[in-house]
């Protein structure tokens, strides 16, 4: 069974600074996707960034980048130049690639606060 672990229930960052959110996962599959989702108080899940396990290059999306360490099963999210609008719950998730099920397995989330 797949599991996703986020060991930081809460994090805080000063506006314009950089913060890294940690995530580890466990899967027996060789091909899978990894995701970071943002959930503001509106409850809407917003996709932040995606990484395909077969790709060695770390994904980047504007101020957001990941550090994907496949052997260590680690998938951290770095937010650069943090903005007040980045404050939200962040969830790490994993999905088997090409599997018949296709559902996402989520971690318990990290609540990010951004201080002005």
């Amino acid at each position: 069974a797949q599991t996703v672990t986020q060991s930081q229930p809460e994090m805080s960052v000063q506006e314009a600074e950089t913060v890294t959110l940690s995530c580890t996962y466990d899967t027996s599959e060789s091909d899978y996707y990894l995701f970071w989702y943002k959930q503001p108080p509106s409850r809407q899940m917003i996709l932040v960034i995606r990484q395909e396990a077969y790709k060695q290059q770390n994904a980047t999306e504007n101020r957001f980048s990941v550090n994907f360490q496949k052997a260590a099963k680690s998938f951290s999210l770095k937010i650069s130049d943090s903005q007040l609008g980045d404050a939200a719950m962040y969830f790490c998730a994993c999905e088997n690639y090409g599997g018949s099920q296709g559902n996402l397995i989520f971690g318990k989330g990290t609540k990010l606060s951004v201080k002005p």
């Binding site: 409850r43 899940m45 099920q101 296709g102 318990k108």
Partner: protein, 116 residues
């Protein structure tokens, strides 16, 4: 086009009553997922529909939970004889599951269920 919509936005019910939660996926999306998010937790997979195939019900927590998807579009999640532990946000997502972009799940805003 419109995103995934869910209704109602909030539902308060008495213990023991039945409730129905509705999800309208993005038009053309063949896959539909239901997740449950309990307070302070990540999302927990409940059920998955893909086209005309039999749904994957492996995540349903008890036989009080059921879901159907009519005409490959709208889905209804039914909880019978609600219990206080059923209180949570119920999120629906849809995706293409084929072709480019098949990996991406689009989430609705959720239904917050409170059982008193």
């Amino acid at each position: 086009g419109a995103g995934v919509s869910q209704s109602p936005s909030n539902k308060v019910t008495e213990k023991g009553k039945d409730v129905e939660l509705r999800c309208d996926p993005i038009s053309g999306h063949t896959a539909l997922y239901w997740y449950r998010q309990s307070l302070g937790q990540g999302l927990e997979f409940l059920i998955y529909f893909q086209g005309n195939s039999a749904p994957d019900k492996s995540g349903l927590p008890s036989d009080r939970f059921s879901a159907e998807r009519t005409g490959g579009s709208v889905s209804t999640l039914t909880i019978q004889r609600t219990q206080q532990e059923d209180s949570a946000v119920y999120l629906c997502a849809s995706s293409l599951r084929s072709g480019q972009g098949r990996w991406r799940q689009y989430f609705g805003p959720g239904t917050r269920l409170t059982v008193t």
